[in-house]
Amino acid sequence: MPEIKVTPLGAGQDVGRSCILVSIGGKNIMLDCGMHMGYNDDRRFPDFSYITQQGRLTEFLDCVIISHFHLDHCGALPYMSEMVGYDGPIYMTHPTKAICPILLEDFRKITVDKKGETNFFTSQMIKDCMKKVIPLNLHQTVQVDDELEIKAYYAGHVLGAAMVQIKVGSESVVYTGDYNMTPDRHLGAAWIDKCRPDILISESTYATTIRDSKRCRERDFLKKVHETVERGGKVLIPVFALGRAQELCILLETFWERMNMKAPIYFSTGLTEKANHYYKLFITWTNQKIRKTFVQRNMFEFKHIKAFDRSYIDNPGPMVVFATPGMLHAGLSLQIFRKWAGNEKNMIIMPGYCVQGTIGHKILNGQKKLELENRQTLEVKLQVEYMSFSAHADAKGIMQLIRMAEPRNMLLVHGEAKKMEFLKDKIEQEFSINCFMPANGETSTVATNPSVPVDISLNLLKREMALGGPLPDPKKPRTMHGTLIMKDNCVSSLIFFSDFGCPWLEHQLRFTCRVQLQDAHSDSDTHIRIYTHLKSVLKGYTIQHLPDGTVMVESIVIKVSSSPEEPNTKVLLLSWSYQDEDLGSFLSTLLKKGLPAALSSM
């Protein structure tokens, strides 16, 4: 029975480490390879021992696909490819390929340099890992090998995020990664065609969330900035790269204009360079449809936003500054933070998640005193605001996506099945499809009903046509006789050929059949009886009784054997070649009826 197997890897139920194994049509694919950011030990890596207890993963995986650059989807990739060992292809979109190594290197630096860890991947490992990456374009089918093909779809969420379709023969799976169904200022909404995959894999947390509107999130951001600037304070916004930063810049610019605000807004030059790079990546990667939703704006054409200079840090009065890096672990944003942290009129707005070990992480946990490397302490008196701007789908969005793709089955990861019965019922009722919810380490097996494409030899086709009869009717299937060849249990190209006249056939096909008889005679006597019986029934056929007892009818061989435990039971072994199929079937039916009792040996 053809089936697809899906296993989310790792221990624990929490969202935080995406790594899903899919077995489809004999192929094994790893979807994402994320790090769990909450743990410091091996629990942060997915549990690869599920694939193999020891040794490299190369021979067990046909490919690895990464959906986007967030660390909980790619953070364990260099560990997997260079420390556990995998040399096969790794697929991701162009922007993901460009941005991943930057984030991984930052992450590595923080973990090794700041936290002093030793069992972690090195810079060289990141480079070696990225050499294995094959970039994907949107909506372009990529042949991983003869049978396996993949295609990326636009997911929204962050720059370069993709939903992926994996196809072997007529079986397919779509993995959503992280996505959103409502467009925001610089990213469109996810989109997929009615590809009807056997399984659609997504996150269960989406389905149990109803998201607050973008308008309210933005309002909160503007309100906080306004309050701070009005009281003469300074606002620091550490950002990683353009995407989110540009969106916030556009917001502030509009607001500044409407409210006639005078305080200066700056962005750091490091950000400018990254911004240009990012911008080019984005434009070349997206297609027409998405480009239209992108706000076409040159970063440097903001009326109220200017380039920052380090000397401005000490300028009196209110200001807003966007600076890198995003987690305050080094560079300009940290330098600014150190100067501004001691003043309670100031504010820092963290627009994203910060890795453990960074200052960003510490202040988001409410820490008010920080120890710096020169043993000085820094008092955190400024207001700390954590705002999440990342675009995620929710309960409504997941239903929309199911409607778009029309999967035959739904599979949700990172949820507890017994706590999600309502959700399961909802999906099953609304779409009449099954909903699976495997726990981490647990495998869900989904039966598929693939149609099998078959090639037919010309001879057979001609012969069937020559037989005449009524014209073909699509409602009435017509039976044909031939032989089906399947290679290695594979569901791709099968050959269906007719009888004689196949010069390329190397194998001789023989059919065998066992017939049980109740017969108290000796083996050799039984042979004689068979021979006699057949000679009387099958007139006109060549029937032989060979010296070793075997009876032959044309090319059909009949042998008798018995076991010492059951001397009265004889087993007749019949064997014939394809050409004598009809006669062979007839003989086996005949002999099943048994031998006439009153047979005398001739």
Binding site: A207, T208, T209, I210, R211, D212, S213, R215, C216, R217, E218, R219, L222, K223, L251, T254, F255, R258, M259, L364, N365, G366, Q383, V384, E385, Y386, M387, S388, D394, A395, K396, M399, K418, K419, M420, E421, F422, L423, D425, K426, Q429
Partner: protein, 370 residues
Amino acid sequence: HCVLWTKEERYSNIHEYQLEHPTRVIEWTGEKNVCVAGYNLSKNEILELLLPLKLFADDNQGLCAERDFKVVHGGFTDGSIHCLKHIPGTRCVVTNDGSSSKLQVWDVGGDDCDVIKKTGDIHLKTASLDKGVKIDSPLTGNASVLHGSQVNDIQLTELTSGTPLYTLGTDIPDVLSSLRFVSGSVFLACSVNGDVYVGDTRSPSYLQKSPAGGREGNHWCMGVRADSSLPEPSSCSVARLSSSCQAVVSDLRNLKSPVCQAQLNVQRKTTSDEFLIVTWAPALDNCLAVSGFDGMVQIYNTASWRPELMEFQPIFIHRGHMMSDAHFDTSSSVVTTHVWHPSRPWTVLSAAGDGSVHVWDWVDNTTASC
């Protein structure tokens, strides 16, 4: 662009959500949980939602980024839900579909399962079969539910056994619009024509009627503010709202003579009266909220109202449900219901016919504070 922003700070917090299907009920099942349900003619969902954690973070609000609703429990119903009441002290809610005399009893569920299960039906003998039933539940005592579609079929039924504990002995056929307990056993019933009745579940013969007395409007509803955990209501404000936008405030001790009244500043956008609702803020004095005329929720301060009918302006208007999102034309959307948080003074939840649900903390910018 940011339509919510004005020079004056109107909200200290605001969250806006979009449900898949609109609700006309919002019922508290905990300090941070509400139940909502659909009102399609056929199949609907009941959901229990957890309010965003950021709202409750107070001093630590800055460090909490969590702004979303979580769906913690869900269930399916075969019919519409017009009325949903939580039975205090239990995980039970009782619903009615607005057109039949059957009450459905549900178990909202605990931590181990996310399904809201129906545990039974209570079939009522009501005089009218298509008016729908109003429901309330006493704050103290055994789990029971007070229900009625007309004054003459008001009854208190024990939940587990379905046994009637109290039946109001009267033959008044007036249709009910609101039913509310003001103490463990004293309740108020408001009929559609504006008359208010006081009953006591300890004495079936007791019934006090305070007629509307020639008031205009063909549809009235009622909002009650009392400390209903007390055995006897010491004071209780009763507000009656009419479909012609009049509000009348009385005290329970003297229902026949209203304390004050006002002509509200509302332009009616809808001809239907089914969503009219008036509520008192539980944790503020003299604060009244009305909705159901259009896409707004209006808040009034009754302290300045007078016994003679005069026009008054609201001290706050929530217009959020009228703003059109890119995908929805909400210009004709009516607010279907609103509720106050039981203890947070300025927190209000409101829902509208386009499926929107808003959670907002409004700021009182008037000099006379609520």
